[in-house]
């Protein structure tokens, strides 16, 4: 823990270096997700009709915390290689490097969250106040999960550079496998018919996104039509379970993430002795 200051210094450096010599500076870290959200909105709300009301807000609820994960591990995977001169010449705990990449992604997430807050306030959206405590919990779990993968990927990538290429593809598949641009229940319902409704829950990031969506987006159903008697028919968006279910599944992911972190740290320890030679 004595290296907390070093972590802070490296995160600061990461952010400073990224936008040095650019006019807009950190504004770029807002532009990127804003455009992503805009594109998805146009495609999934205008081009393809999407039944989810206020789709933009649904999208924002999940995509920011996903971005944190994606940007964190993408930067972390090459963090040891990118800092080769340092690794070869100075001793310091090397796991700080992937962690700093995650830290920078976390800071970006916090900045982007301000846009989310503005959007939710502007549209006078009623968030699930009771469920808001899920957010910090899910955020911590997301950080542990991201850090575990970041540390493991960074270490393995030193010897097998295939990792960084593989990761880009894996993240793309993973993104579409996580209910961010579509609703969890839209998929789970169909799988239910085959008795596979548990399948999407195997993806830890699904659970993290669900917690965010449950607390922020806060609509479990939408009106999908009317029956013969002109009564509205409701279709589910998010799992209809209560607080305990969310806490339970998040708890499982938390335990899993903690185990992964321990495992990743062990792999890292084992490989780090060879970093200076293999760079």
């Amino acid at each position: 823990m004595g290296y907390r200051e070093l972590l802070v210094a490296l995160v600061r450096k990461e952010l400073k270096v990224r936008y040095k010599n650019s006019v807009l500076g950190f504004v770029w870290s807002l532009v990127n997700p804003a455009v992503t959200i805009g594109v998805f909105y146009v495609i999934f709300s205008v081009v393809f009709k999407n039944p989810i009301p206020k789709f933009v807000l649904y999208l924002m609820s999940g995509v920011l915390v996903w971005n944190m994960f994606q940007n964190g591990v993408s930067a972390a995977v090459s963090s040891i290689i990118a800092n080769a001169p340092l690794v070869k010449k100075v001793w310091f705990p090397r796991e700080i490097l992937p962690l700093a990449a995650v830290g920078a992604a976390f800071v970006d997430f916090l900045l982007q969250s301000s846009v989310l807050v503005v959007a939710f306030v502007a549209l006078r959206w009623r968030v699930g106040w009771g469920y808001l405590p899920l957010i910090p919990l899910a955020l911590v779990v997301a950080l542990v999960f991201t850090s575990a993968l970041a540390i493991w990927l960074a270490a393995v990538n030193v010897r097998y550079r295939d990792m960084q290429h593989f990761l880009g593809i894996a993240l793309m598949v993973w993104f579409w496998g996580t209910p961010i641009v579509y609703a969890f229940e839209q998929v789970a319902h169909r799988l239910h018919a085959h008795g596979l409704s548990w399948l999407p829950l195997l993806n830890p990031y699904t659970i993290i996104c669900l917690c965010f969506e449950r607390a922020l987006y806060n609509r479990r159903t939408y009106r999908s039509g009317f029956d013969a008697a002109h009564h509205p028919i409701y279709s589910p968006i998010l799992p209809g379970h209560g607080y305990l279910w969310y806490l339970g599944v998040l708890g499982i992911v938390a335990a899993l993430s903690a185990l992964m972190l321990v495992g990743a740290a062990r792999v890292f320890r084992k490989l780090e002795g060879d970093f200076a030679e293999e760079l």
Partner: protein, 436 residues
């Protein structure tokens, strides 16, 4: 005394993979086995470095000295054996490693210092000291991006940060030779201050003079094997005599052909058979100031079968003072004296019409080598001679000194003037003299 660093049975193996087997296809064809060669950079090193000592690790290129330092620093992990160290360690392996060109000097100081293990509050406290140490130029540009720094400013700032980390153990790899002379002196001053404060210093170098200057102990490495540990003068003698020439070194045991061909294929093609000190008066074995002195170097050309005389030969001598400092060195090439093709036996004489040396016992180093630097033979400080020059002046040479006194103070019309003020010594550039 407590040990600052304990090295026990440390070996380091590098795997050298054959380049052409890096593609996946070839790997599969090779059945997943990539051929490699093992290269042992260090073999079974045992070394105990006491707290508060300054140790020089000497070795030629590829001797493993830098690998050992990196193992001590924790950058490389030994294949076998163990290294224990006690106390905060700072390694100066490369100055300014990890400087971010796009960040300002100030930001880089903070970043680099925290990488070296300093707390933010500590850096705040020492910031001015660090920038000050780096020099005036750097101070002026501290808020500019480092990419606009000259390479000199870059390493000065790097050194300033590293040295101010306040380590208990300082590891230095060849980096003391940075910057201009004034900065080098500053670095050495800082190193001496560290020594006085009882910190431990490990210096890796192939410059024996640096070891003699700052180390209390030395260790010589040769092809990954620790050959000798002890008093710097003894170790340097071993290093110069045996390792640089590749004869009798431990490496010979492993692969004699390699050492000789790499270091001196010509070793003992010409031998120094003896050195005679020709004193001005044979009845007393001392030389007085202003008296002549000669050294006769006996040589012996070994027949190599072809019967050819040795044409490419340079003879050199170097005089070392009582404290082991180099006083003077020269050779026949520098003196523009072509040595004729030598064969058989004979002698080469170096004569000094007068020796302006002060009282003491001096040592002579004698070497025979090719113009390109391949050694035939080398005697490191084996020849002693005494200078008798009574007097109470100090140093190694006696310079002609005269004193005159003038009334009225008017400095500056004959050369540059130095002033001492609050900010230290300043030099007046306006009058005469060359620019600094």
């Amino acid at each position: 005394m407590a040990a600052a660093i304990e090295i026990e049975g440390v070996s380091k193996r590098f795997r050298l993979y054959h380049e052409k087997f890096t593609s996946l296809k070839e790997r599969i064809l090779a059945g997943g086995k990539v051929p490699y060669e093992d290269f042992w950079a260090l073999r079974d090193i045992d070394l105990r470095i006491e707290a508060g000592t300054s140790v020089g690790l000497l070795g030629h290129n590829g001797s493993g000295k830098s690998t050992l330092l990196k193992c001590i620093a924790g950058i490389l992990r030994p294949t076998t054996g163990e290294i224990r160290s006690q106390g905060r360690m700072a390694a100066l392996l490369e100055l300014g490693a990890g400087f971010q060109p796009d960040l300002s000097g100030r930001e880089n100081v903070y970043l680099n210092a925290s990488i070296l293990g300093m707390k933010r509050a500590e850096i705040d406290r020492r910031f001015d000291e660090i920038v000050d140490f780096a020099g005036e130029q750097v101070t002026r540009m501290i808020d500019n991006q480092v990419k606009f720094y000259s390479s000199g400013m870059y390493v000065r700032l790097g050194f300033a940060v590293a040295i101010n980390v306040d380590p208990e153990i300082l590891l230095v790899d060849e980096v003391l030779a940075v910057g201009d002379e004034a900065f080098q002196r500053k670095c050495l001053d800082k190193v001496s201050a560290f020594q006085r404060e009882g910190r431990t210093i490990v210096v890796v170098t192939h410059a024996p003079d640096l070891v003699r200057q700052i180390c209390t102990r030395a260790a010589a490495l040769d092809h990954g094997v620790l050959v000798e540990v002890g008093d710097p003068n003894d170790v340097i003698r071993t290093f110069r005599e045996r390792l640089m020439t590749g004869v009798n070194s431990a490496a010979d045991v492993h692969d004699p052909s390699l050492v000789r061909s790499e270091l001196s294929p010509l070793w003992h093609r010409v031998r120094i058979s003896g050195v005679e000190v020709v004193y001005p008066d044979p009845r007393r074995e001392t030389v007085r100031a202003r008296e002549p002195l000669s050294f006769r170097i006996g040589y012996e050309v070994r027949p190599d079968g072809t019967g050819e005389a040795v044409g490419d030969l340079v003879a050199g001598v170097a005089i070392y003072g009582p404290m082991g400092q180099l006083v003077y060195g020269t050779n026949s090439h520098l003196l523009e004296q072509e040595l004729e093709a030598l064969s058989g036996t004979g002698s080469i004489t170096f004569s000094f019409p007068e020796l302006p040396l002060l009282d003491g016992a001096y040592r002579l180093t004698v070497g025979l080598h090719t113009l390109g630097g391949l050694q035939y033979d080398h005697w490191e400080q084996q020849v002693l001679f005494d200078v008798e020059a009574p007097g109470r002046d100090i140093g190694v040479v006696r310079l002609d000194t005269r004193i005159t006194i003038e009334a009225g103070l008017r400095l500056g019309d004959r050369g540059p003037v130095f002033h001492r003020g609050e900010q230290g010594t300043t030099r007046d550039h306006t009058d005469g003299g060359r620019a600094p």
